[in-house]
């Protein structure tokens, strides 16, 4: 039964202000881009249905405000995210340096059970611009040091790699989402029946 239901994947986009988080989300969901900069206040989200290996999943992409003073959704909000997308601007070394603190902040706030294997994806945005300041190699090294985080270089303006990046995000999140169903034994002294376990397995396929 559960297998016929669409799975919801909660994706959170983090990064310094102005790196293009909102633009990336808009490009992915609405196929639109605007050169005009509008700071995100609080947070916003869009949903999009995507196919991942024959499974229809709903991605709920939460776009957060880069400016700290706009971070108003509360700690509880980050919890239960299925994937976190860290964004920086390839023309801005500072935004790249901030990745560490965004990652740390996310891990503290969301406190996932297995932080080393939580699915992050890094996006280096604005590769359409001439004045690039962070090399691909440098970014890859950083991703490598964080347990092989997938890395994509994107342009929200030119729609380069955006689709591919979000496909990967969805796939990684889904892989992590569905692996849970293995061991849930009920350490209650009085245990759930075998029958019930069979039921869950049947549902989670």
């Amino acid at each position: 039964m559960a297998s016929r239901k669409k799975i919801l994947l909660k994706v959170i986009i983090l990064g310094d202000s102005g790196v293009g988080k909102t633009s990336l989300m808009n490009q992915f969901v609405n196929k639109k881009f605007s050169n005009q900069y509008k700071a995100t206040i609080g947070a916003d989200f869009l949903t999009k249905e995507v196919m991942v290996d024959d499974r229809l999943v709903t991605m709920q992409i939460w776009d957060t405000a880069g400016q700290e003073r706009f971070q108003s959704l509360g700690v509880a909000f980050y919890r239960g995210a299925d994937c976190c997308v860290l964004c920086y601007d390839v023309t801005s070394p500072n935004s790249f340096k901030s990745l560490d603190s965004w990652r740390d902040e996310f891990l503290i706030q969301a406190s996932p059970r297995d932080p080393d294997h939580f699915p992050f994806v890094v996006l280096g945005n604005k590769i359409d611009l001439e004045n690039r300041a962070v090399s691909t190699k440098r970014a890859q090294q950083w991703c490598h040091s964080k347990n092989e985080v997938p890395y994509f270089e994107t342009s929200a303006k030119e729609a380069i790699n955006v689709e591919l990046a979000f496909q990967t995000i969805a796939r990684n999140a889904l892989a992590q989402e569905s692996e849970v169903d293995i061991g849930h034994e009920f350490p209650d002294q009085i245990k759930l029946s075998n029958d019930n376990k069979a039921k869950q397995d049947a549902c989670s396929c």
Binding site: M1, A2, K5, I7, L8, Q60, A76, G80, Q189
Partner: protein, 535 residues
Amino acid sequence: MAEQVEVGVAGKSSLNCTDGDVVTDVLKDDTPGVSGEVMLVNTDSFEECNHDLDTQFSGGEEISGPDSPIRKVQREQDGSNELAVGISNVSLNHEEEEKTESEETVLDANEEEEDEESTDEEYLKSSEWILKEKHVFILSESGKPIYTRHGKEDRLVTLFGVMQALVSFVADNDDVIRCIVAGNHKFVFLVKSPLILVAVSHTVASVPQLIMQLTYVHNQIVSVLTASALTRMFEKRRNYDFRHLLGGTERLLDHLLNLLDSHPSFLLGAIQCLPLNCSVRDTITNTIIQYCSKIKNLVFGLIICQNQLISLVRMKKFLLHPADLHLLFNLVNATESLKTSENWMPICLPKFDPNGYLYGHVSYLADDCEACLLLLTVDKEQFFTLSEAKQKIVDRLRRHHCLEGINVAIRSSAYTVRAVGAPELRHFLYKSKTTAQFTCPEFTPPYHTDEEQKRLYGMYQLIHHRVHSASRPLKMVYMVMDTETLVGWVTKEFELYAALEPLVTKSNAIVFVNKLLRWIKNEENKLFILNSPTF
């Protein structure tokens, strides 16, 4: 509303009305349905609701450790500690599963035909969906949709996202969101980690009443999974999709929510007994005791039918909470397949022990009797013992013509308000507080249509809310409306809600209400179970 008399806390508990009509004082001994022997936890539904609100702030009730009732029973009865993983659903549940699955398939197919292409955006634009009187949503604390009363939860992710954001935003200030009132709409939140329950309603139900309803919904989920399993799963994986574990529970939730809007038992926090001659009831009770008292670990044995209790026998130390009994009623009513087989199922009764399962032998007495027998034990290996006991119980009940007695009662025991002999009295709810039981007559004109019954229920909700208002509780409320006159009266022993003709005079209303109390007193042995048999 032409006139309204309210008697505050200071008012006496006898009916001496404001304009000086002196009426016979109701003597305490005459209070109908009062009993020193208690088998159900007597509770004020609203006290409980407030308790639930309080525990929201302290992070929920503590998960009980070694002293949970189930373990107590086990320790005392077992001596030994072996609690191996065992098979609890003996074969017979299989059928049920298949059945639910096929039912779901049919349902899904229908809905898909309707709106295969529709997305959640379209749901939110559908006025039919929006105008539903009451919506109930369940999501996990991380915003994963679990259940919606109307529509399909996986098409409402946007809405669920907003709900989670609201809860999270308020939680950031160490606060808990309780409700938003916008025009006629109430948005009521119940945050019970790891679940968030939300009701959106434009019915007359008050905020505390809606919170109480959400608490029932939460209890239903706990009853399926246990509170500790919920917490544990969530600790393991915050992004866990609880639908994996709750597949098939929609049926119970839908059924419960339908009843919550129409059945007074939830509003009153009380249960209704099938009116039955004392001798028949005693024979039934004694039969249960006779064949079950020797069975170790058996906590409750009860016979129910159509949301009414026929008999309840309990282990001496434990009382059954009405809220738990409501869940048992709901389980039996919502599961058609129980009729065709003998069943063995784990059931968590949240008020008894939210963290463990009781095992229930659930079966209808016979093909020719609609009553259902439930034997609840903590021992998951007891199926065959209980199955045998059941057969003996049924045999003896048949020999003593109790099955016929029950059938006759099911067909003919409902009474109308005319029996009271108070001509201007139209309908009433009477709750005996000490026994947590209530009685009410069948609906008669003008309350013979669904619409009117619903409206009357709304009126009861309204006066119930008035007398239980936290800021200004009342002992008595007298309301003259265009369509009826309403009386709400709460004493230590009872709660009474009555609907009378709109033009009844106040003195007549008082006469009729007192007449009603005398009538219930006369009938109390039939209407209520006043003893409290134990194993």
